[in-house]
């Protein structure tokens, strides 16, 4: 009797391990395989060795709309959250919306099943609100730092990692590998980035609300504006954006007009009140740009130019100005290239558009004080 009991207990230990393996292998074998953009960090686990901690945009509830059922539901720490995915240009997947109710399998929507890790989602910067069990990539000891170096450093070029994930019909995800974006992106902040405000700069903003932008289609910015700023304007460009082709093949980008392939946007697009002003980069024709392997594209970003101004609704009016001139300096911004939504201005033929590199490039976040995330 005791021998039987002992045998059962030993078998239970082996069965537990086998069940863990079976669960993951069945997801890998039968699940859908997707790629999701991620940013790695490199800590170490005492039992499992080196691992890279992965951060996805879909970890943050502020990244996409939420469809709570009922509408006034307040999910709490530990509750199930489902991130419904949509495919983006370039084959990457991103979250379309979050919900607290499991999506219907009949709709063929691909979704990730996660759990809320905090009671105050979205209130802190760069935190994980929702975990999906794919936030750790284990690597051979010493190789975590290689991944970090490939990804790049603050203030330098950064190459986005794409996590390969298998997802089954219940939203269970298994991280199966990773690859790298073909383009690296970097921003350089000038030492005199911050505005040198005048003594009367206590109006909340140093610019008038009506901006008259007259933009040439040359890549060099040549704008006339009647903005009334208290800034010291000199010839130094506050921000420089660099894109480098890190693949072995030429890559085409669509960058018409005054660098209208790129846009300035707040980091938390869902909750931020900053908006790109209407009319910027409108009526721009397609402008192909080809980057040879290893070739960099350097774009000076003159934030004082109306092309890069942002609008912010204030108490009595909406003001449009240089982001550095707003008194509220707590906002973080990024420069973004998205092949599918270049300010809605792409008017070329479908065949021409598909020749461009498909995907999105997102720079490191920076704020109006010149700090970089």
């Amino acid at each position: 009797m005791r021998n039987t009991l002992l045998a059962l207990c030993i078998a239970a230990q082996a069965f537990t391990l086998a069940w863990m393996v079976y669960g993951r292998e069945s997801v890998i074998a039968h699940g859908a395989s997707v790629s999701i953009a991620t940013a790695p960090l490199d800590p170490r686990d005492p039992f499992r060795g080196d691992f890279v901690r992965l951060r996805y945009a879909l970890n943050s509830l502020s990244h996409a709309p939420t469809h709570w059922i009922p509408a006034d539901a307040q999910p709490r720490k530990g509750d199930r959250i489902y991130a419904v995915l949509q495919e983006r240009p370039g084959g990457l997947h991103d979250v379309a919306y979050f919900t607290n109710v499991k999506p219907d399998n009949t709709t063929n929507e691909l979704f990730l099943r996660g759990r809320l890790r905090t009671d105050n989602p979205g209130n802190a910067f760069n935190r994980v609100d929702v975990g999906y069990g794919i936030e750790q990539l284990f690597v051979e000891q010493g190789h975590g730092i290689d991944i970090e170096q490939r990804q790049g450093v603050r203030g330098g070029l950064q190459n986005a990692m794409h996590a390969r994930v298998s997802i089954d019909a219940n939203g269970t995800a298994v991280l199966t590998g990773h690859d790298w974006n073909a383009l690296a992106i970097g921003i350089e902040i000038a030492s005199d980035f911050a505005l040198n405000r005048g003594a009367d700069a206590d109006n909340g903003v140093g610019a008038t609300t009506d901006t008259d932008t007259d933009t040439d289609t040359d890549t060099d910015t040549d704008t006339d504006t009647d903005t009334d700023t208290d800034t010291d304007t000199d010839n130094t460009v506050p921000l420089t954006l660099t894109i480098v082709n890190q693949s072995n093949a030429p890559i085409g980008l669509n960058n018409p007009g005054d660098n209208c392939g790129f846009r300035l946007e707040p980091m938390n697009r869902i909750i931020s009140e900053y908006r790109e002003p209407e009319g910027i980069c409108s009526d721009q024709s397609e402008a192909p740009l080809t980057l040879a392997p290893g070739e960099p594209l350097v774009i000076p970003i003159d934030l004082s130019a109306p092309r890069w101004h942002m609008s912010l609704p204030l108490a009595d009016e909406t003001r449009t100005a240089d982001i550095r001139s707003f008194r509220d300096n707590g906002e973080w911004f990024r420069l973004v290239y998205r092949s599918d939504e270049q300010n809605g201005q792409v008017s070329g033929s479908a065949s021409a558009s598909t020749a461009y590199w498909q995907g999105e490039l997102i720079s490191q976040a920076f704020n109006a004080l010149g700090q970089v995330d």
């Binding site: 009991l5 030993i10 239970a12 082996a14 391990l17 039992f47 499992r48 060795g49 794919i134 690597v139």
Partner: protein, 445 residues
Amino acid sequence: MSKHAAWLRQEVGQWLQEGLIDQTTASAITARYPLSSQRSWGLFILTAIGALIFGLGIMLFFAYNWAALPKEAKLALIFSGLLSSHGIGWWLRRKPADTTNLVEGFHLLGTMMFCAGIWLIAQIYHMDEHYPTALLLWGLGALSLGWAIPSVIQGLLATVLISVWGISETLDFNRIHLASIAIIGLTLLPLAWRQRSRTLLALTIVALFGLLQLTIAYHWTPVIVFKLLFCSALILLAISHWSRGTQFPQSASVLKAIGAFVYGACLLYMTFISEFSLSMLTLPNPAADNVHWYLYLNWGMLIITTALWILLMVVGRAGKNASPMDRTLSLQRIAVLISLLILLAYQFNTSPAFQAFLHLLSNVVLALHCVLLIIRGTDALQWRPVALGCMTLCVLIMARFDDLFQSLLMRSAAFLIIGALLFYVGHRYSRRKLQEQTLEEQTHA
């Protein structure tokens, strides 16, 4: 016991050589006190530590995570390690020779391999799951083997793991967690009793104490934690009295040690007066907190404990012909009951003057306990109660240094009295020892 029997065998051999006793008497004496057949605990602990460290080494080996090693090879290694460790333990079990330590050592290694397997699979599949679940799985693996072998060391490991699981769920994930308490109380405590293991009994009781108090304090209210601790300690002390008559009489010493330690600490706490300590001693304000279930728990524990101790005093009262030690024990029980009544009195909305009186009374009760411990220790010629009584008395005097003895004269008097008392204790202990030796010599003569 085994140590004493070995000593006696040496002495019997000497007596036989010197002609003090004959062979028949020597055989009768050695037969009366046989050498214990219990296992060698030193060897067992070494084996257990060896298995634990070896298992940790294997886990770290896999943690290196060679990229060149395919996952199939890693999985094969971990499954073969698990099955071979348990398999060797199984094989040794069937051997006629006494290999208990090795059997338990290999099964412990198997449980460590089970843990290594959990982490390795998590590593292979990059799992970032709810980490306390891994502790639960590992703990359940150890628990099941603890009953199946049966094994104290698996039980100890399971107690630690289930406790860490409960603490993680409570502190890291803010969950009301009673499952860990239930598992320890319903499966590991009975295992300790079944195996007659004082070590496992002590660990499970401490784990239950800790998890219960942590859960109540973290999720509901800290105001009843002190009273629950106090009552639980007295309940343990009361149970220790009755557990002597059970099939596991050694449990009495464990229950008594834990109960006395917690009770002493609680009583010392009651001698400090502050707003915070009063908030822990008094009843939560029903108007502010409504009448929650914990108020009923508060009163329920106090009433049950008081009833239990009154029953204990009635059952165990010292008769007219009782020895001085029994009388001292009775006095100690009276002191415990008084301290319980002091705590009960705090539950009513008492005036500051009455609270000050209760505070003073707490000091007196603790001092009385110290004196009774010293008397009992010197009567029985046991140095531990004497030392404990003296040290607690010194702690009490130091605690009152600021808030009771404000004048230098009072402080001086307190130190003089305590110094003189310690001298007297030492003198009384020596005199008692001398008396005992003289009595023994007279008996031999």
